[in-house]
């Protein structure tokens, strides 16, 4: 079991409210994409939101939506996002979303396995990426950072060696 999982948040600004006919294909695809995510290898968790469709709107700006999810590894998320039916959905994003301009729309970061991030944490990671570029606290597929190293409890032999109470192992 890996000690860290990969969290992702991504955001888009809708061209029209989800109830608008021009958004019908997007809305119709949401259920399929969520079901695909739920049964994809390495899927851990996603924020379902009040609508249950996985899109979380910002109260002050309902056209600004977010999705937040956790995956076992970057490869699992990549396989779902870019090597499945989801890619064709992404290809059509300009029909439904405004361009992001130079603002990052996706950020990745490591979370301890078994924990789930909050929307507020995700938005703050996105802000940090936009302000300072990729760091271990928030990065992108194009510039990845490895998961934090797991500290294992040292063996009694190693402790003894480090404390100078045991001889160095013989080179033989």
């Amino acid at each position: 079991m890996d000690a860290f999982h990969l969290a992702q948040i991504n955001t888009a600004r809708l061209r029209a409210p989800l109830t608008d006919p021009s958004m019908a294909d997007f809305v119709e695809g949401l259920t399929r994409m969520n079901e695909l995510a739920d049964r994809s290898p390495g899927f851990v968790w996603r924020l379902e939101g009040d609508n249950g469709d996985g899109t979380i709107a910002r109260p002050a700006d309902p056209l600004r939506i977010y999705t937040l999810s956790v995956w076992e590894t970057p490869e699992h998320l990549r396989a779902y996002a870019y090597q499945s039916e989801h890619l064709d959905y992404l290809r059509r994003r300009r029909e439904w979303f405004h361009p992001n301009g130079s603002e990052a729309a996706l950020v990745l970061w490591w979370v301890p396995a078994g924990t789930t991030p909050t929307l507020r944490q995700g938005i703050s990671r996105l802000d940090r990426l936009r302000a300072g570029g990729p760091t271990p606290e928030g990065f992108t597929f194009r510039q990845m950072f490895p998961a934090p190293a797991v500290r294992r409890a040292p063996s009694p032999e190693r402790l003894a060696r480090e404390e100078g109470t045991a001889p160095e192992p013989s080179p033989l």
Partner: protein, 215 residues
């Protein structure tokens, strides 16, 4: 042309200058999966030892990778030794004299297009370029000429084993895969095969994101 990496690329490409070795590479590249030395020897009309010599040179040059598998399907005692198999390595090699950096330029252009939200314009340009090719009545020939390495999957479907835009597609998947779909769409129109075949986005690991189906 002087960094160690440049020289490795040059060595890799130069190893294909020998016609027999180049043919051995082509045989492996045309295989739907890993290929054994016997198959290569047969295709070359050469001995097994000579085929193995060239294949191992290609491995040393970084153009091929080795794996081992029992081809009989048997396992356990009596199944024999695993066979050494060859396949095209994932690494890409390009040599430019004088130095040119078109991939770096492509990355900048892709990033700019994405930020500007100009995907639709890219798709239109790609479709128009694709449709500018000559008429062709053989779908396999047409896709092979474009570097897609088509592989029939039954009589009704074709998958593409090679993505000509692989590295860029990994970095900008929706943008470049969408462009590629538009190119193939255009190629079908230009060749006159669009009445018979249709291209669609059908992404899966390890191959091009587009597949073709009989109409």
């Amino acid at each position: 042309m002087t960094t160690p990496e440049d020289l490795r690329d040059l060595d890799a490409v130069a190893s294909l200058a020998d016609p027999v070795r180049r043919r051995a590479y082509e045989v492996v590249a045309a295989g739907a999966g890993p290929v054994g030395r016997d198959e290569v020897a047969q295709a070359l009309g050469a001995g097994r030892t000579l085929a193995a010599f060239h294949l191992d040179k290609l491995v040393a040059a970084g153009l091929l990778e080795v794996s081992y598998a029992r081809r009989s399907g048997r396992s356990g005692p009596g199944a024999g030794r695993p066979t050494k198999l060859y396949q095209v390595a994932a690494a890409e090699h390009a040599v430019s004299v004088p130095p040119r950096a078109y991939r770096a330029a492509a990355e900048l252009l892709a990033e700019a297009l994405e930020q500007a939200g100009a995907e639709q314009t890219l798709y239109e340009v790609a479709r128009r370029h694709g449709s500018g090719g000559p008429a062709c009545s053989d779908i396999t020939e047409m896709l092979t000429a474009q570097g897609y390495a088509p592989e029939p999957d039954g009589a009704e479907r074709i998958v593409l084993r090679n993505c000509p835009f692989h590295r860029l597609a990994e970095q900008f998947p929706p943008l470049i895969c969408g462009m590629n779909l538009a190119v193939i769409d255009g190629l079908l129109t230009g060749s006159g095969l669009d009445g018979e075949w249709t291209a669609r986005m059908d992404a899966a690991p390890g191959r091009c994101c587009v597949t073709l189906s009989k109409k």
